[in-house]
């Protein structure tokens, strides 16, 4: 790729959009997942409600 060619700025902005857009989404999803795990470990520290736990497998 030649960086002094015409319209290279459009190419770089396009990739920056994808990196920030999808990267932001990735960070959001990972942060949400981590937050839910932390909340669950606070609410259910013994894992009683985990699948496979004493209450988690009750019908």
């Amino acid at each position: 790729m030649s960086f002094d060619a015409p319209h290279v700025g459009f190419v770089l902005w396009s990739y920056a959009t994808a990196v920030f857009g999808i990267g932001g989404l990735l960070l959001f999803i990972l942060a949400d997942y981590r937050r839910q795990r932390q909340l669950l470990s606070t609410l259910d520290p013994t894992g009683e409600n985990e699948p496979g736990g004493p209450a988690g497998d009750m019908p």
Partner: protein, 256 residues
């Protein structure tokens, strides 16, 4: 398949699969980006701007694929009331919205140097904008109901009604005269793109596919945990927890 579609089994299997999926996503995208920037030749008409295609086209494909996954899951919600189906729909909506936004913005950045305009109200561009607005609407709809079961059913019906837009997007360039070019890869007479550009495009598409599944599975896991937390919180609020008593079963909405 049905056994795997149990939330507990899904959490167990997806937990083992995800690290490999993320590693494969990173590797394939790295190869694809290298090919896109350093192997693919400059187009004789478009010059360097052809490289926008390697991000714009996969984003467009998977914005539509994401909606197709949602429509399939919506059938699961309405017909079988499967707990994972609604989780799948809800987890996919923001992913589809971001992929569609990336499609629209990169398309606009490609259109300005090639067409001389950022935007035209032609059938392809407008139908993709409608898809983006549908994703935003579905996000709002999901949160518009207090009853999660009702939210799941209404969202599923809306997703299925909105699926009509997917073939419109795909065939808009054939049905109407548009500034957007017609299909160049998925054609009955084969791709019209030269292999030196087609191969990097397909590698990037494979990377986007892996990325979509990695994001979707992670978001589904977060949603399952959120529903489990909600269930435990509700049961605790009702005072049904206590030593030696049954607490919460591992269920997800829309079962309640």
């Amino acid at each position: 398949m049905w056994k795997l579609a149990n939330p507990g089994v899904f959490m167990a299997y997806s937990g083992r699969l995800l690290p490999w999926l993320w590693a494969a996503t990173g590797a394939v995208l790295a190869i694809g980006l290298y090919q896109a920037f350093f192997v693919a030749p400059t187009d004789y008409q478009q010059g360097e701007t052809v490289r926008i295609m390697f991000i714009h086209v996969p984003a467009a494909w998977f914005s539509m694929f994401c909606y197709t996954v949602m429509a399939t899951s919506a059938i699961g919600t309405l017909v079988w009331r499967h707990p994972l189906a609604d989780v799948s729909v809800k987890a996919a909506i923001p992913i589809g919205a971001v992929f569609t936004a990336v499609t629209l913005i990169t398309g606009s950045l490609w259109g300005k140097p090639m067409w001389g305009t950022w935007w035209v109200w032609d059938a392809r561009l407008t139908s993709v904008l409608v898809l983006f607005l549908m994703y935003l609407g579905l996000m709002a709809l999901q949160n518009a109901f207090d009853d999660p079961g009702r939210a799941a059913r209404v969202t599923a019906i809306t997703v299925l009604v909105g699926f009509i837009n997917i073939p419109i997007i795909k065939f808009s360039v054939d049905w109407w005269y548009t500034l957007h070019q017609p299909a160049s890869v998925f054609r009955f007479d084969g791709p019209t793109i030269y292999p030196t550009i087609l191969i990097p495009l397909l590698i990037m598409a494979a990377g986007f596919m892996l990325l979509f599944f990695a994001l979707h599975i992670t978001a589904m896991r977060a949603e399952i945990l959120r529903r489990r937390i909600r269930k435990i919180t509700l049961l605790k609020a009702r005072g049904s927890t206590g030593p030696g008593r049954r607490t919460a079963t591992f269920t997800t909405e829309p079962a309640e």
